[in-house]
Symmetry: D2
Subunit: 151 residues, 4 copies
Amino acid sequence: MSTNEPKDPAFAARVHGSFAKQGLMATLGARLARVAPGEVEIELPLSPAIAQQHGFAHAGAVAAIADNAAGYAALSLMPPGAGVLTAEFKINLVAPAAGELLLARGRVVKAGRTLTLAQAEVLARQGGREKLVALLTATVMTVEGREGVAD
Amino acid sequence: MSTNEPKDPAFAARVHGSFAKQGLMATLGARLARVAPGEVEIELPLSPAIAQQHGFAHAGAVAAIADNAAGYAALSLMPPGAGVLTAEFKINLVAPAAGELLLARGRVVKAGRTLTLAQAEVLARQGGREKLVALLTATVMTVEGREGVAD
Amino acid sequence: MSTNEPKDPAFAARVHGSFAKQGLMATLGARLARVAPGEVEIELPLSPAIAQQHGFAHAGAVAAIADNAAGYAALSLMPPGAGVLTAEFKINLVAPAAGELLLARGRVVKAGRTLTLAQAEVLARQGGREKLVALLTATVMTVEGREGVAD
Amino acid sequence: MSTNEPKDPAFAARVHGSFAKQGLMATLGARLARVAPGEVEIELPLSPAIAQQHGFAHAGAVAAIADNAAGYAALSLMPPGAGVLTAEFKINLVAPAAGELLLARGRVVKAGRTLTLAQAEVLARQGGREKLVALLTATVMTVEGREGVAD
């Protein structure tokens, strides 16, 4: 649906550098697992520290990695110097997030000059099997020339 | 828009008890600030531990407290024994979440038998002033008779 | 939440002129009922011509007037010459749209330079009573300098 | 992502029958183009009668066929006698809907007992080429035993 030609040859280093600055990812224990042009994967081990009241992963934790996977998929296609901000996202939670690991797979659906549409699936891995637990759709904004907003 | 008559006289204790079981809220440092029938407020001090790459609060942290404020507003009107699950939410991030404290104010828009529509505003408090940073709309499901899913 | 100071003194004529160009509104039978800075109301009589399979108004018809009420509320605050485009919207349908008339009430939540967040409630009027049937949240884009896209 | 085993052997007739009862589809000029288990396609010729102010197809018309494609994809997997209602949908409009024909392609992402998650892409066909113009995500409800709500 998209040619996914990176405008910045250093796109992968840029995504890794930005991810490393996110205090929340360290707090949750999330890890950047894969960066390709227009595609990013993030892993999050399940633990009581990210749980909701029934013991499943909290929708906020699921949304955090899904938003990041979608947003960084968008950033991987942006021109050098631009910053990425999520304008809005929507997430459907289709099954309890239970298992050993959550895996968020983000991809760009349509990259525009100002707005990019990206999606992320979140899968729960349990005993070698993967199950869809959530689907996120995000509108991501390319921000240029705003102080303090790069990558 | 809603009469907001609680079906469970112990609604406040129930919301407090459920919130206390959420590992993610302790991990983020969030606090349940107010519980009324159909209305719940949650506070989250801003810190590098919940930040994204530009130093603002991460959309995932903003979404986590907004989803909780909306979901617990819904739970406060549910019959005893029922559990609450978010089926989906949508959040618009309208300004960078910067300041000392985030305040999520959730309220029920329409309580149905199976599905409840709830909203939450997230405000950032800085130097005594409050500013809207996000607006969330959630579809919350009343779950009855499913093992392990209460409150 | 917003000062709602119009940047164009001719905002009302502009909204009326744009609405009159929308073939779909005439096809559905919708009418622009009120235009104020940051607030727009649209009415749509219920009829079999806009129904879904159970005889209620179709979600597409409900969404059409809600999107317009939100989008025109946004346009009413835009500078002269700018065009309005909906980037995305989300609508929750909380009750069957039955009755004599649907009324969509749009208002701006936060007007930004590029993106405006607007909401619209849709009420169904039946026998002098009004009932909430839908709630829409839209991200509306201000488009400047694009040929063919004004108002 | 889904086995898409129809629970009703008459699923195609059922979708065609329900579509034929929708006054709005006739009013807009839409046509049911394909019905398979968990997948439905709807076509809508572009005309001034469904336009917005710049001459493109109105977001409401785009949403109407996308919601239907997603909803009927869900209905195609529901048990006999059940009715389908859209609880909410979200649509991103990524390009102006211009051309000769709009084509909405809906598919079930996850079919649940009460709630089904479905998506629809809307493509615009112009001179033999297709272009993505919108992406919709819907939460569709299975309604059983409610009078007047079948199919």
